[in-house]
């Protein structure tokens, strides 16, 4: 990339084409609904994404351009995200005029749809929680130094008035912490009670309000010591945990928003009469749309005319662009790099690939994985048990020591020290962190439940076509027996719709071969068999070996030997004969995808048995199995969808946990039956719909990654449970026998929760160190 002198000149570097893209009518009803907001003062507001900003100088220029427009009220350009929230008076200037001005300066502005509902909800939640967390931290920190003074006084003696003063200060600090910062726990406890369940919130609310009430009593009656600092510490530490959990959720949603950013804002519709700009939301399947260089494909579709390289890296992560020609499929969000493509929309915007990805990310977040459901249920019993133990402790000590204060002290210590945080706090964080890492690797989980199942998998069943291989046959060899008559072969296959002919035609087109149709006469295609025509007065034949033999082509014994070498290869063969003599052979093979071999090796290395299942013929299947080193005993070729289903069922009956990866409609039943069904990103709809995981990158390497993520995530969850169990087993008896005062209890509980939360956050670290390469 060349160094562009944007800071010096202050002008943008956008391709001139962008400025010619017309804008849709900002007064249209649909546009207003999806993009515009009204401020209470009667202005309009919209979020614009600025394109072409290279530096702070650019950002400043654009900001100035915006602010100099008459009618623009506010334009706060965020230098980090390149977004601006523009507020302007529509009676003075239209959005189109503003964007024209930006373009004149050499940049472009894309109106952004109003944010994802999920993200909006999370932002709202952060706005609500952050100040509460800060108040809790402030209160807890200040209470700590007051507590130090109190302990010093406890040992060396302190005048009553000083003690009263410190108690008063503690009370002032602890009250907002409990009622403002701790409000969420009270709310949660109340919600739980209404639902008839008990959660961690209940335990927190009960113990903090008990200690608070007792401390108030102790301060007023000047008997015993106060424990306001325990209240604050408890709430502050738990708020930190909750806040961390929320950051995890946001991180995933941001990923989802990353996908949404890829959505173009307007599209060119081509009809017989004219071409017009329409809104993304208005697109109806069947319309012919156009993409120009640099533009993004709005909805999924099929190319009708034009040729271009298309960048699909948002889905595949592959930097290499993919050539597209009439008949190729386009998925929304890809960027057209050169040339103009016209395509027929096959889906509306809401159903296109990108939208479905976004939907999936949101679904994964909103559904509660089983491990969380179990954790929540366990937490309920835990809290119930602790409340019971605390009550019994209270009654027992009261009866034993005849001291209400002492009994209360022991019971409170029990309530505080017992910690269900490994269940209620650490598990969700671990699941979220795992999901976030997976999304980053372009692996989409249906929800977090697969973490658990993935770990138990023993058998991996792979589909061949489209999973291990590219799923797109390519010409691998053309062997000419005489002079190479490329033009003849091209012309002969160009007119046929047979897949083999199409592959050969594509091969020539990719090489840029020009076609002179005139050289052929009397072209005829015999369906399913082959082609015949006349070329320079000589009869020519093209098709499989059987077709040539039927038409009377004879092979000498020398030629027979050569033939044998060909027929032993695993690909499909196309023969060409000129004037009754065999003249060329074309070999067509479905190439093994880069990374498949390595992925199979790694799957085997971690002790999984790899199976190959394909509808293709045995020769092709064994060739692929051999090059990927899949045990030939575990290869099942010529399998119908029912056979695939039966194969998976058979494995399951033997007590195995089966993971199946596939991409086609024919894999769908088996994918559904398998314990984990994984679809490749380029799969058919049906496969995507029923799968538990999607590998957007279309690469089996991601499967290894998914296994490693779930392994680490689930491992951490289990580790947390063990840590928590040991902690509670040690701490509870101490509390019952009154060997810990509430402050120490609060400290140790907080530290144990922080420990498990930190442990959960390690998922990302572990993945980074265990070879993200």
């Amino acid at each position: 990339m060349s160094a562009l002198a944007c800071p010096a000149s202050g002008t943008g570097v956008l391709a001139p084409d962008a400025a010619s893209v017309p804008l849709p009518d900002s007064r249209g009803e649909n546009f207003r609904k999806h993009y515009l907001n009204q401020t209470p003062e009667g202005f309009s507001s919209i979020t614009l994404l600025l394109e072409g900003l290279r530096c702070a100088g650019c950002a400043h220029t654009v900001e100035q351009v915006l602010l100099q427009q008459k009618g623009v009220v506010e334009a706060d350009l965020n230098y980090s995200t390149h977004r601006t929230r523009l507020i302007w008076n529509e009676r003075e200037i239209s959005l189109e005029e503003i964007i024209q001005e930006i373009r004149r300066a050499g940049y472009n502005a894309l109106p952004q749809p109003l944010v994802l509902p999920g993200l909006q909800r999370e932002e709202q939640r952060t706005r609500e929680r952050f100040p509460r967390l800060m108040v809790a931290l402030f209160g807890a920190m200040n209470l700590m130094w007051i507590a130090i003074a109190q302990y010093a006084g406890y040992f060396s003696g302190m005048e009553q008035r000083h003690e009263d003063l410190l108690n008063l200060a503690s009370f002032i600090l602890a009250t907002p912490v409990l009622f403002y910062s701790g409000w969420l726990f009270f709310k949660g406890a109340w919600r739980d009670l209404k639902l008839g369940t008990l959660g961690m919130d209940f335990q927190v609310a009960l113990s903090t309000s008990l200690i608070y009430a007792y401390s108030c009593y102790a301060a007023v009656s000047r008997s015993g010591s106060t424990y306001f600092e325990a209240v604050a510490m408890f709430i502050a530490f738990l708020s930190i945990g909750k806040y961390l959990e929320q950051l995890g959720t946001r991180k995933i949603l941001d990923q989802g928003q990353f996908f949404q950013k890829l959505m173009p804002f307007s599209v060119t519709r081509v009809s017989e009469e004219a071409r017009e700009e329409t809104l993304l939301e208005d697109i109806v399947p069947g319309w012919i749309l156009e993409v120009k260089p640099g533009e993004r494909v709005a909805v999924d579709g099929e190319v009708t005319s034009g040729e271009a390289l298309v960048d699909e890296s948002h889905l595949t992560g592959e930097p290499m662009s993919v050539p597209k020609h009439p008949g190729s499929l386009l998925s929304s969000g890809s960027i057209c790099q050169d040339g103009v493509l016209q395509f027929r929309a096959t889906r509306s915007a809401g159903e296109s690939t990108l939208s479905r990805i976004i939907q999936r990310v949101e679904d994964a977040l909103s559904s509660k994985p089983r491990v969380r459901v179990i954790a929540d249920r366990l937490a309920r019993y835990f809290v119930l048990g602790i409340t019971l133990i605390a009550t019994l402790t209270f009654l027992w000590i009261w009866q034993q020591a005849q001291s209400l204060e002492q009994a209360l002290m022991h019971a409170m210590a029990v309530l505080i020290i017992a910690c269900p945080c490994a269940l209620s706090l650490a598990t969700p964080i671990a699941v979220l962190t795992g999901l976030a890492s997976a999304t980053q690797q372009r692996i989409l989980f249906r929800d977090g439940a697969q973490f658990e199942t993935l770990r138990q998998v023993t058998e991996v069943v792979l589909d061949k076509t489209g999973t291990i291989t590219e799923g797109r046959p390519e010409v691998t060899r053309i062997a000419w027996r005489g002079p190479a008559e490329e033009e003849l072969l091209h012309a002969l296959t160009a007119s046929s719709l047979h897949p083999v002919s199409q592959t050969i035609r594509r091969y020539y087109e990719a090489q840029g071969g020009a076609l002179q149709q005139s050289s052929l006469a009397h072209l005829k295609e015999v369906a399913g068999r082959g082609l015949q025509a006349e070329w320079k007065g000589k009869p020519v034949l093209g098709g499989n070996l059987g077709w040539l033999q039927t038409c009377g082509v004879e092979f000498s014994s020398e030629e027979q030997d050569e033939l044998k070498a060909f027929t032993e290869s695993s690909g499909s063969l196309f023969f060409l004969a000129v004037d009754g003599r065999w003249s060329a052979t074309v070999e067509i093979q479905d190439q093994i995808r880069e990374g498949s071999r390595e992925a199979v090796q790694r799957l085997k290395a971690i002790g999984l048995k790899v199976h190959l299942l394909t509808g293709d013929h045995a020769r092709a299947a064994y060739a692929v199995a051999e090059s990927c080193e899949i045990d030939s005993k575990r290869v099942n070729a010529s399998a119908s969808p029912e056979d695939k289903l039966a194969y998976v069922q058979h494995l399951q009956e033997q007590g195995h946990k089966v993971l199946m990866v596939g991409d086609g409609l024919n894999d769908a039943p088996a994918l559904a039956l398998a314990d984990i069904g994984i679809a490749m990103g380029a799969s058919t709809d049906k496969a995507l719909e029923i799968s538990d995981l999607v590998l957007l990158g279309n690469n089996l390497k991601a499967l290894v990654e998914a296994l490693s993520i779930s392994h680490h995530t689930f491992g951490l969850i289990r580790q947390n449970m063990v840590i928590s169990l040991i902690y509670n087993l040690v701490a509870l008896p101490l509390a019952i026998w009154g060997w810990v005062i509430p402050l120490v209890a609060a400290l140790s509980m907080s530290l144990s929760s922080l420990l498990v939360v930190m442990n959960s956050l390690r998922v990302r670290w572990m993945l980074r160190s265990s070879g993200g390469a």
């Binding site: 003062e41 009667g42 202005f43 702070a56 950002a59 400043h60 100035q64 602010l67 009618g71 623009v72 009220v73 506010e74 706060d76 965020n78 230098y79 980090s80 995200t81 008076n89 009676r91 952050f130 100040p131 800060m134 108040v135 402030f138 200040n142 000083h162 003063l165 410190l166 200060a169 002032i172 600090l173």
Partner: protein
């Protein structure tokens, strides 16, 4: 010896003031754009003033 309550009161008040200031800034979006802060010093005050003037002129 009445210095103690005063000290305590003043220090807590100052701390609370700091907290309030921080939260106010947060709500105003002061921490939303870390990039901009680095370049703020390079921007001209005149433009800032013109911007403020413009805000005043823009009553609907």
């Amino acid at each position: 010896m009445d210095i103690l309550p005063m000290m305590l009161g003043v220090s807590l008040f100052l701390g609370a003031l700091g907290l309030a200031g921080f939260l106010w800034g947060w709500r105003q979006g002061l921490f939303d754009d870390p990039e901009r802060v680095r370049y703020k010093i390079l921007l001209d005050d005149e433009e800032e003033a013109r911007y403020q003037q413009m805000l005043k002129d823009q009553k609907p």
